[in-house]
Symmetry: C2
Subunit: 410 residues, 2 copies
């Protein structure tokens, strides 16, 4: 259960130096660090930008079936995001004062996309589309290209999602460049997207200078099953989480012990279907569990304790259980809703709180790319009424200029 990402002091201090270096020396530092860490050999940061034409070419080069799948996923992610609105409001009190709230988009968002084996086009869609729906003026993506290699499907997804600019930089240096800006890379207002321990440490350091989404930990699933779902389906649902990495967590909770045994058998049998068998086995050994509970209520209580990123309710009448769920990033209801559909195309975001952060944090969404402003407009009479209240409390707090400023409007 103790899954909060640990912060290594060594990593933190190394990243502090990188961030300070990019903040001070800008493009010069960014170029040096990128050439060094990503084994590049370029002469300017401008060379690290991927043009609109290159992204379009990457899109055109994909097989038609994949393009169609990405388009369908993007359309569904957009449709869901369009339901996410914070209502502006305005009301008038008994004294004629108008109180309200205004909602505006961020000017510029930075999207960190990991390179290498974890370069996922679906993440580009999930991060960029809500930003665009929110009305963000400019979305800037950074993705490292170790040794100059870049995943062409990631570029294709950037094209599809309407990302405005793309730079092949990564690591803490890319986060610092987005936070403070360099001559070539404009500063953003918020940085979203997953990354390794260096990226996470950099996000923690620049938090305050810019907004960040969250510190992503390993992926997790809890499956609650009443014992009536095909055991092979549940086995593969657990595998789909485990294949993310050796620290991923897959937990099945069921009151049906016999069913747990059948799932274990199915796991043994279907393991051979998996090219990532070694990763899956290690993940299940480290973090996997099939747990017999006294009933579904106890399973729900355990799940609330875990506050999982993903929760499958593979039970009859799943909606009946939903009011008991207190913490979960995303809930997958019913036997026909495997978590993998949510990863790609159901519509809701696949960027979700991990490591028990579902207790206090949110799926990435349109809200994360907007901000609210409070609005207050007092009538002369209303100001006079409020000045009496404010004056009395300001006096008690010893803030005489506050009291005088209020009472000027008496």
């Amino acid at each position: 259960m103790d899954r909060a990402p640990e912060q290594s002091a060594d990593v933190t201090h190394a990243v502090e130096n990188i961030v300070a270096d990019v903040r001070t020396r800008g493009d010069v530092a960014l170029l040096e660090l990128t050439n060094k860490f990503d084994r590049r050999n370029v002469a300017s940061v401008a060379e690290l930008e991927v043009s609109v034409e290159q992204r379009k070419a990457a899109w055109d080069a994909q097989p038609a079936a994949l393009r169609a799948a990405l388009e369908a996923a993007a359309q569904r992610i957009r449709a869901y995001a369009e339901h996410q609105t914070i209502a502006p409001f305005s009301f008038t009190d008994e004294h004629g004062n108008q109180l309200g709230q205004m909602v505006t988009p961020l000017d510029r968002a930075g999207l960190y996309v990991p390179g290498g084996k974890a370069a996922y086009p679906s993440s580009v869609l999930m991060n960029a589309i809500p930003a665009k729906v929110a009305g963000v003026r400019e979305v800037i993506m950074v993705v490292p290209a170790p040794g100059g290699e870049l995943n062409s499907v990631v570029l294709a997804a950037a094209h599809l999602a309407g990302v405005d600019r793309v730079f092949t930089v990564g690591g803490a240096q890319a986060v610092a460049a987005l936070a403070y800006g360099t001559k070539t890379i404009p500063p953003v207002d918020k940085i979203v997207g997953p990354g390794n321990a260096y990226v996470a440490a950099a996000k923690r350091i620049v938090f305050g200078q810019v907004g960040i989404d969250s510190i992503a930990g390993p992926s997790e699933i809890v499956v609650i099953c009443d014992g009536k779902t095909d055991p092979g389906w549940i086995a593969m649902d657990l595998f789909s989480q485990a294949e993310h990495g050796e620290d991923s967590q897959s937990i099945l909770l069921s009151p049906d012990v016999e069913f747990l045994n059948r799932v274990a058998d199915a796991m043994a049998k279907r393991m051979s279907e998996l090219p990532r068998e070694v990763t899956v086995r290690a993940s299940l050994k480290n973090r996997g569990a099939l747990i017999a509970t006294r009933g579904l209520d106890e399973a729900i209580a355990l799940s609330n304790q875990i506050a999982p990123e993903h929760l499958e309710l593979s039970v009859d009448a799943p909606r009946d259980w939903l009011p008991k769920i207190r913490h979960a990033g995303a809930v997958f209801l019913g036997r026909h809703t495997p978590e993998a559909l949510g990863d790609y195309c159901a519509g809701p975001n696949h960027v979700l709180p991990t490591s028990r952060a579902a207790r206090f944090s949110n799926p990435l969404g349109v809200y994360e790319f907007q901000k609210r402003s409070s609005l207050i407009e007092c009538s002369p009479k209303g100001a006079s009424e409020l000045a009496k209240i404010a004056g009395a409390i300001a006096d008690a707090e010893g803030l005489q200029a506050h009291a005088a400023s209020a009472r000027d409007r008496l």
Copy 2:
């Protein structure tokens, strides 16, 4: 303009040790650190709890006029907060899949209240009431009592706001106790409230283990005036910000140079009204400015660049200018709306983003004490349709268990 709170490496490393100590040794460390830093001499953390009866007694001991003012403020803060709702939603796609969003409150919130000179009862109301409106089950307040001294109005406000438990601990050790829990202090899910550099550093470190609101910097105001407001009013509005501390920022923008001179005269004249004159003078010298702009449009552009915590639009027809405001924590519209009214009782929260964080961050509100869960429920036919899309993208990402889990439902 460069106002982001600087992180001192010395403070960070000292706080890392404090946090680790409280995390490891719990109450024992918390007690030692509290006795040391707050010059206390108590034998257990339990002795540091302020009982319900003590809080009630503090409330009863306040003058009736102050109680009435606090009650009126609390009622207005609550009324505004009750307008803040994230709509849950649900819709069905063309294949019969149901997609939606559920909103639930945090279980437990921690409220940090500074001790000493900046112990403000209004902050207790502003932090606790939205948590209560959000449905948080338990609100735990911590407030240091240096030398055993505690502001009785702060306790009275805790009583009024319905804070559930109060502990007289502070500093990084209090933040660590709230984040990890000790035997006496239960762990919370999110920590809100302002504090000094040690508190800010501790919040940054525990972020991820718990949610935090933001890293608060010095308070700020931008006043935009068309030159037609009483110069004495504007002078006192600027003073009310400056009296917070020497690093507070007060800026007046006006296209009317003659008006700026009249405000400067009024400032010189009204300065003698202020018991905090030394602080106000230092703040204005360090961070104050009266700036002549080419017009109101340029004033708005400057304000958007500053992204102020507080913005007064002391102009004719202020609503006409509102659509041009891109970043501001709270906007005070019209000559009869001094910022001080918002600090206490207008209704909107006075906990607002500082140091340009209004570019990406929010006023504290009900939303900050709730979280969303995504909901996905596929029909058999709908799952089959989605499995085709998910399978194709999972293949491209090399995640075969994802593809198989999706295709099990084909």
